[in-house]
């Protein structure tokens, strides 16, 4: 339903969507590409999707690659671990980069820096070179952090969860889509006449080009915040250029970041692990390349149970990831980038640990590994019960009886000298807007709002 610009935004005529006091959108319109909010959304999820496609482009082609490069199960396991381990620290670094330089520059730079690794996958000729290209390609998964940061900068508390969830989810879809895309591209190239051992190499140019083009789009069409880019806002004094050690310190001090990192390790980490192992598992266990296309080719019977289980598993894993990242924007305002980075990095740590224990070499068969992974997921998800926000409560208890407010929680990150200089203003605005997170029990009095009420035609 199209709402006329002027009618919706008499206070902010230059935005297509209704916005709050920070100029963040209060609505999420997925079919719109209006600058800056929805355009940022589409740019971020598409570029993140391309990174996932590249990082997991190798697993579906492993039945051919392992023969071409003479890989053992240990080599394959190590390469899979390398693919997800690079991003552990890259995600934390990305969080810092976003805090300091803005998500647009940070993500486009990382994507262009990791694109050469994807191009060079085509010329890998040994287990060592294969491991290296997967390691450096995997760095691009850090764009998850910039996606979340960018969405948190563009959308208000009311819709930030949806924006983060949809952007993260559609991006992660790349890990699944690539399991279908790469075999299709490979067979197309092979049918044109290339030999198998050459066809897979050519196939890698597709994700590489996609990644390069998406980086260009982010650079040329993107914008860090609703009011402009970091560099312009910093120069004009609207955005205070924060101090790295202060940002890092406040992130590390917050225990909630640690818990979210652990639980994310066992939903997202598991997802990454499955992205790495599942194609080979289906191929070898069900003995046919058709197993990969089973949904497309309509093969049923022996594969149905596995596919059904995978679908259910996938729904729950994605829901868990989305819920974890629904909480992240509220853990800290000053150190949003580093907290996002820690949680995202924790996801990759989970993937590394899981693959090292269960999916490397020949100690456990893949079937046994998957079962044991399930047990570990349950154990590592329990700490989320311990998260507590004094202004809103936790899973089993209400908010602090001292009446801590959102302002108290977010202002605790700034010392008095910083407050005197006015550096905390952005956090103050955020605190006010986050009052919408209160549960019905807490928010007995109606909260005055500066937001323009949406009008409907």
């Amino acid at each position: 339903m199209e709402v006329p610009r002027t009618a919706t935004n008499s206070e902010h005529p230059r935005f297509a969507l209704p916005v709050d006091s920070e100029h963040k959108a209060t609505e999420f319109r997925v079919c719109s590409v209006a600058a800056p909010h929805m355009r940022a959304f589409h740019l971020s999820w598409i570029s993140f999707f391309s990174c996932f496609v590249s990082t997991f482009a190798a697993p579906p082609l492993l039945p051919i690659i392992r023969d071409n490069l003479n890989l053992t199960a240990t080599d394959i396991g190590n390469a899979g671990i390398a693919a997800v381990s690079g991003a552990v620290f890259a995600r934390i670094a990305m969080g810092t980069a976003c805090d300091l330089f803005g998500p647009r520059l940070a993500s486009a730079s990382l994507i262009l820096l990791s694109a050469p690794a994807v191009y060079c996958s085509a010329i890998a000729n040994s287990a060592a070179s294969f491991l290296l290209v997967r390691f450096f390609t995997g760095f691009s998964l850090a764009t998850f952090v910039s996606t979340q940061f960018w969405m948190s900068s563009m959308f208000s508390a009311r819709v930030v969860g949806t924006a983060n969830g949809v952007a993260g989810g559609w991006g992660n879809l790349g890990g699944g889509a690539t399991q279908l895309i790469m075999p299709l591209v490979f067979s197309l190239i092979r049918d044109i006449g290339a030999v198998k051992f050459t066809a897979w190499r050519i196939a890698f140019f597709i994700p590489a080009l996609f990644q390069t083009l998406s980086a260009f789009a982010v650079f040329l069409l993107g914008q860090d915040m609703p009011d402009g880019n970091f560099s312009r806002l910093q120069k004009s004094g609207d955005k205070h250029k924060d101090n790295f050690s202060q940002v890092f310190y406040h992130a590390i001090k917050n225990y909630r970041g640690g818990i979210l990192a652990l639980t994310y390790g066992y939903c997202f980490g598991v997802e990454l692990t499955v992205d790495n192992i599942i194609a080979q598992y289906f191929y070898d266990r069900f003995n046919t390349m058709g197993g990969l296309f089973c949904i497309l080719l309509g093969q049923v019977g022996s594969l149905s149970a596995s596919i059904a289980v995978m679908l259910v598993f996938s729904v729950f894993v994605q829901a868990a990831c989305g819920l974890t990242f629904g909480v992240v924007p509220f853990v800290s305002r000053r150190s949003l980038g580093v907290i996002s980075g820690m949680t995202g990095g924790g996801g990759n740590v989970g993937a590394v640990i899981t693959q090292v224990i269960f999916f490397r070499g020949s100690r456990y068969s893949t079937e046994t590994g998957i079962t044991l992974m399930g047990v570990m997921i349950i154990c590592c998800s329990l700490p989320i019960l311990l998260i507590y926000f004094p202004q809103w409560g936790g899973m089993f208890c209400g908010p602090s009886p001292e009446g801590t407010t959102e302002e108290d929680y977010y202002m605790a990150e700034w010392n008095s000298k910083e407050k005197e200089s006015g550096f905390h203003q952005a956090s103050l605005k955020f605190a006010e807007n986050s009052r919408s997170e209160r549960s019905k029990r807490v928010d007995s009095a109606s909260t005055p709002t500066n937001e323009t009420p949406p009008t409907h035609v």
């Binding site: 486009a108 198998k196 051992f197 149970a305």
Partner: protein, 201 residues
């Protein structure tokens, strides 16, 4: 409802195996004889070199033994050294699940004393191999075999060197595109810096 459906699928899957009456390797009669041209330890190149294979009935068995043999299939099989830490090449007794022999040299109706020259396919990986022939009855089940290696698969093995799959044009394209990515990043940074200088002024 969903749990019943899941159980039904699982039972169906298990029965599928028994439906096909899987043949065991240990049940086959060793009545064929097969020889291949590569010597012990010889290294052949995929796509260039060829293997000459000859097969027939082992003369020490009576003439009527091979009356039931309707079809013969000669395979290229992995030696144990190439199966280490590679579960996708595992040897199991159940021939329906056995993955030792993944390349077919020839598959034709059975006749005594035949031979063929086979140019090694370009998708054969680098590994150590031996040759094995299976004879099938009219029901399509394996009934007899022979292999060029001994029972333990430790002697009379040869190696095949695979093609790399790389081409000069691919190498050049990879390097060029990589350089292009890095150069464009550098270009964007310069553009960003000049924009900042503009804002300052």
């Amino acid at each position: 409802m969903e749990s019943h459906l899941l159980k039904a699928f699982l039972i169906f899957f298990c029965l599928l195996g028994t439906c096909y009456g899987d043949v065991l390797f240990s049940s086959l009669s060793h009545t064929l004889v097969v020889t291949a041209s590569p010597n012990q330890g010889q290294v052949l190149n995929a796509g260039e070199d060829s293997i000459t294979v000859t097969w027939g009935l082992n003369q020490s068995f009576p003439t009527g033994t091979d009356e039931l043999y309707k079809e013969v299939k000669v395979n290229l099989c992995y030696a144990p050294i190439s199966q280490v830490d590679r579960a996708w090449r595992k040897t199991v007794d159940n021939l329906g699940k056995d993955k030792t022999c993944q390349f077919t040299i020839v598959n034709k109706p059975y006749e005594r004393n035949q031979s063929i020259e086979w140019i090694i396919n370009k998708d054969v990986p680098t590994a150590t191999y031996f040759v094995r022939a299976y004879a099938y009855n009219s029901a399509g089940e394996e009934v007899a075999y022979d292999q060029t290696a001994d029972g333990k698969k430790s002697s009379n093995l040869f190696e095949i060197q695979a093609i790399s799959g790389r081409h000069l044009s691919l190498d050049i394209a990879s390097v060029c595109f990589s350089a292009f990515s890095l150069l464009s990043l550098f270009g964007f940074f310069l553009a960003e810096k000049s924009k900042r200088r503009q804002v300052k002024n």
